[in-house]
């Protein structure tokens, strides 16, 4: 089945004052695809995400989402961060957190929130404080919030960071399930090449400029990884 491009990144360059972080990055993501962005720390992955969601304005080039500027269609994008950035001891419940984003319909009602939580495998958790959740549970709450608001694009910033192997498997299985059932386009920033190889349809290798772009089996090669991460990274090649 032919799919339409939902995200187009064209010759994107971004710099903080004189420090260039992204240089001429171009790729296309089709609707319903899972795409992974890999690269070493400081390679511009987070800056790229912030340009995709329209939080940053490109210095050169453009990002187009569903034919429009990201700022105009940002309500269709869900963002799942690595962790809760505020203090973990803030007394806010899962229900209160999920109800922050109000919709035109009644999707913030307790019934709908419980349904979204059950979809991600969480039960009887709505009155628990956000700070009491494990890393994996928090990630699933964030995914449930995105489901609640039926986001068309989901962005995961290192979703399994600080989570054990079982938790990691659960998160990635969930991402795959949502992608298949709801045709949600997913962008995953990850350092784990085995996971990228298993779940992503396309991979962007980023180190300020785009080193490579393509299917995992063609992109995750010792040569590309050496260029991306430096000497020795080829040891992590999954084949």
């Amino acid at each position: 089945m032919k799919t339409e491009p939902i995200i187009e990144v064209n010759n994107l360059s971004y710099s903080f004052d004189d420090f260039e972080v992204l240089k001429n990055v171009s790729f296309v993501v089709n609707e319903g695809d899972i795409i992974a962005i890999i690269g070493p720390n400081g390679s511009g992955k987070s800056t790229l995400l912030k340009n995709i969601i329209g939080f940053y304005t490109p210095k050169q080039g453009e990002v187009i989402i569903a034919g429009k500027s990201p700022k105009l269609v940002r309500k269709q994008i869900g963002y799942v961060p690595q962790k809760f950035t505020s203090d973990r001891d803030i007394p806010i419940t899962v229900y209160e957190f999920m109800a922050l984003e109000r919709c035109h319909d009644d999707s913030h009602s307790k019934k709908n929130i419980n349904h979204a939580l059950r979809e991600v495998g969480l039960k009887n958790i709505e009155n628990k404080q956000l700070g009491q959740l494990s890393g994996g549970q928090f990630q699933r709450v964030m995914i449930a919030r995105a489901l609640l608001h039926e986001k068309k694009i989901l962005i995961f910033d290192e979703p399994s960071s600080g989570i054990d192997i079982v938790g990691e498997q659960t998160i990635y299985d969930l991402i795959t399930k949502i992608n298949k059932e709801k045709k949600t386009t997913c962008i995953i920033v990850s350092h784990e090449l085995n996971v990228v190889n298993k779940y992503a349809k396309w991979v962007v290798c980023l180190n300020k400029k785009m080193i490579c772009f393509g299917a995992p089996e063609t992109v995750i090669t010792p040569k590309n990884l050496k260029e991306l991460y430096g000497i020795g990274a080829g040891l992590y090649h999954s084949h």
Binding site: I90, E101, R102
Partner: protein, 268 residues
Amino acid sequence: MPEFLQYPFMIRALVAGGFISILLGWLGTFIIIRKMSFIGDGIAHASLAGIAIALLLGWATIPTAILWSILIASFIYFLEKKTKISGDMAIAIMFTTGMAIGVILLHFYQGYQPELISYLFGNILTINSFDLFSIIIAAIIILSCLLIFYRRLLFTTLDPTGAYLSGLNPWVYDLVLYIITAVTIILSIKLVGIILVSALLVTPSALGKIFASSFKNFTFITIIFSLIIVISGLIISYYLDLPSGATIILTGTTLFGLSYLGKYLFSK
């Protein structure tokens, strides 16, 4: 009727204290999450320049200081968001500059300066009917803003990226929070003083965090504690003939210490 209610200055102080404590308690819940407690100190100290301008020109101090504080809060916001200067640095620059301008201007103020000490440490005797009127009007406006923007302020505080993606503009709500915090601090200066006011932004929230199980009851408990601290502090200061601002702050600290100890002992 208790003896202290026979004095108009005490009634004015209690009414002003009631409004101010609700505002400080509610705002404190946002300030403590954003780790912005330094902004209370910064704006309070910087406001000395606004007070000095009002005294020199013979203008009403609270309205002049409110306008000055809005200017300072907006400038801190601009420095923080539009330059490489961090929030702490921006506040520290405005904190010291405002104090320095205030001291220089007051140097030119002719005659006795009894009010300066009142502004530094608070003096409920200086709250006149016009001040009380200004406090009530400003408090009603700020409380209305908090009621209208509550969910949006909370969303942008807890999850700025999520708030942006939901269609909100977090920068606008950051500025709204800075401005209403600045105005609230000015309203509180005659009650507790420039030096002590930031404690009332933090202590009730710190108490609320000890007992709350959700954000809704965190806000409610914090406001209740804020009211208890201010009203009981005022009454204690009346009966013991102590400075009101310092007594209010020490009442809060004592309550916090006892609550923390109580929770520690009961949870064992």
